[in-house]
């Protein structure tokens, strides 16, 4: 028989020689790995957190778990073929990303979509914004223990997905806009669907408002938590609601209006304190403003074509393809060869739900871009997490991630 260990003896470092009393609580730091698969990280964000007790001493984000090499993929296909990939970037607002991409290509080719297409695109962007913000609100509240909000927001998102499905044929993977216009016109009765949503949604927002805005638990979890000053946010390049929460009214729809945003009346809500609560207020108000924009767009949908008249860029109508040789060749050429924008480089930015979404395209006159760089707002905003979280509690970190609203499909691309 082998000798048994004395199980009652303390293991090394745990006996009486160990510091006792208050000293025992000082100095020991713990490294906590959060993610990449953790419900509160909203995807595959991995944070390595150094903790002293419950206080966060350092945060190191690790990203790339959802990297699919989209920028490289773009170099090997035609400009139109890349549109479906943009669905998979910000998968919470694919319509918005689609529009951002085609606008960049259109800028490169000096194309402006017809007025009808522009209004429909505005509606797409705002529906996407509401849908993305609703998800942020629901999951953010769920992270902090307010489960009721989640069910209300997801009921509304279901309505939105039905609207998007009627328009594009897909709920998540929309791929709706095309360079020079849209892939199809609105179906009959679609505006009625949107009108019903626009009329009913403000009341839902009021209900959600009551659930959280004055809620004592919510206030205690979000106020003075994850503060970032305007100077820091600007220096780090943070955009979108995360920047506006710190009091800077930078909104690309205002500063560099695209799609005729200068013709719509809407406010750009800004916060004051740069904390989680102000970012919450900003996003909440943005949903109301999006409803305002949708309402104006619904009143002024111009008649007319949805695509520009350029047979080298836009596919011919299907019925004509089957009857006429010219249109058949045209369709064949666009599908196989695509179109060739002139050589040059453009950067075009839109105000996506997460912030400034920019596409930098370098063309050498080929059918595919020589380089496509995507300036993803979530990627840049995540840099700020260290500034916001260090010095706070580990439970605040959950609130901070939710308030930054990163979407990893866009961070990793």
């Amino acid at each position: 028989m082998t000798e048994r260990q004395d199980l009652d003896a303390a293991p090394p470092g745990m006996g009486p020689e160990r510091p006792q009393g208050e000293d025992a609580l000082r100095g020991d730091q713990m490294v906590l790995n959060m993610g990449p698969s953790h419900p509160s990280t909203h995807g595959v964000l991995r944070l390595v957190v150094t903790l002293d007790g419950e206080t966060v001493k350092a945060v190191k984000p690790y990203i790339g778990y959802l990297h699919r090499g989209m920028e490289k993929i773009a170099e090997g296909m035609t400009y139109t073929q890349f549109i479906p990939y943009t669905d998979r970037m910000d998968y919470l607002a694919p319509l918005s990303t689609n529009v951002g991409y085609v606008l960049a290509v259109e800028k490169l080719m000096e194309i402006t979509a017809p007025p009808r297409a522009r209004v429909i695109r505005v509606m797409c962007c705002e529906l996407a914004r509401i849908s993305a913000h609703l998800l942020w609100l629901g999951t953010g509240a769920l992270d902090l223990g307010a489960a009721t909000v989640f069910f209300h927001t997801f009921r509304e998102r279901e309505t939105l997905y039905n609207i998007i499905e009627s328009l594009t044929g897909g709920r998540l993977t929309t791929s709706y806009p095309r360079v020079g216009g849209l892939c199809r016109d609105m179906p009959d009765g679609w505006t009625r669907q949107v009108r019903a949503f626009v009329n009913g949604f403000p009341r839902v927002l009021d209900e959600l408002d009551v659930l959280l805005t004055g809620n004592q638990i919510w206030l205690k979890r979000t106020q003075k938590v994850g503060v970032i000053t305007a100077e820091d946010a600007v220096a780090l390049g943070v955009t979108g609601p995360n920047l506006r929460g710190s009091g800077i009214a930078y909104d690309v729809r205002r500063t560099e209006p695209y799609l005729g945003y200068e013709n719509y009346e809407f406010d750009v809500p800004v916060g004051e304190h740069g904390d989680v609560y102000d970012r919450y207020l900003v996003r909440f108000e943005e949903m109301r403003q999006s409803v305002r924009i949708l309402d104006q767009a619904l009143r002024n949908i111009p008649a007319g074509p949805i695509n520009i008249d350029d047979p080298k860029v836009v596919l011919p109508p299907k019925d004509r393809v089957l009857q006429s040789m010219e249109e058949l060749i045209q369709q064949f050429m666009i599908v196989t060869e695509g179109f060739r924008p002139p050589p040059g480089a453009v950067y075009h930015a839109i105000e996506a739900p997460k912030g400034e979404l920019g596409f930098y395209i370098r063309s050498r006159g080929d059918k595919s871009p020589y380089r496509l760089h995507i300036r993803a707002p979530s990627f840049i905003s995540l840099q700020a997490i260290e500034k916001m979280a260090v010095g706070g509690l580990v439970s605040d970190l959950i609130a901070i991630i939710a308030s930054l609203d990163p979407v990893m499909g866009e961070v990793d691309r």
Binding site: I63, G64, H67, G69, E71, K72, G76, K107, L108, E110, V234, A235, L236, G237, V238, I248, A249, Y250, D251, R254, T255, E256, P257, E262, D267, V268, P269, V270, L281, E285, G344, A345, V346, Y347, A349, E356, G358, Y360, R362, Y370, R371, H373, R375, F379, I380, L382, Q383, D412, R413
Partner: protein, 181 residues
């Protein structure tokens, strides 16, 4: 909750001209395409120009919006680095472009705009551009032990990464090399 004002977008042509006067000896080239102004800056003057733009009294560029790297197989230059700057107070954009010969790195702009950190890491990771003086130049998207820079034009898209350590041996077998048992 105040509403922001509508501001007319304005191409920063005068900014670029002012830059050319301030750095008369640097040989800056100003290009315009689709209403965007790009200033081609010599590699060794980049930080100086960036600091000047950041602190410009008439039109300070408070924000580095993004950074993109390009790789070329032919020609005198191997890399180009593009910086998109934005002036919040004057609502203007300006693009800086730096051309790098083979083997050359470029000074990091993290000292001017802290937000250059991740974008520069990304371009180092994907394109293989060295940013000198960067505080934390690690891979950010690809795994830490990944041997290649996938956005380089010589990256083998179909066969996986090939040797970079000079041994001539592929770092990992491509699908074409794999034997089917």
């Amino acid at each position: 909750m105040a509403a922001g004002p509508y501001i007319e977008p304005n191409p920063p042509k005068d900014v670029a001209e002012g830059l050319r006067t301030a750095f008369a000896d640097a040989g800056l080239i100003v290009e315009e395409f689709r209403g965007e102004i790009t200033v081609v800056v010599p590699r060794e003057r980049l930080v100086e120009v960036a600091r000047h733009l950041r602190a410009d009294r008439d039109c300070p560029f408070e924000m580095l919006t993004g950074c993109a790297g390009l790789h070329f197989l032919e020609g005198e230059f191997e890399h180009e680095v593009v910086y998109v700057l934005y002036s919040l107070s004057r609502n203007r954009r300006l693009t800086l472009l730096v051309r790098l010969k083979p083997g050359e790195g470029v000074a990091s702009l993290t000292g001017v705009w802290p937000g250059a950190n991740w974008p520069e890491r990304e371009q180092y990771d994907l394109v293989g551009i060295r940013f000198e003086g960067h505080p934390d130049l690690r891979r950010i998207i690809m795994p830490e032990d990944y041997p290649d820079h996938p956005l380089r034009k010589d990256f083998d898209v179909e066969g996986g990464p090939v040797s970079l350590d000079g041994s001539g041996k592929p770092a990992s077998p491509g699908w074409r090399d794999m034997e089917h048992a």
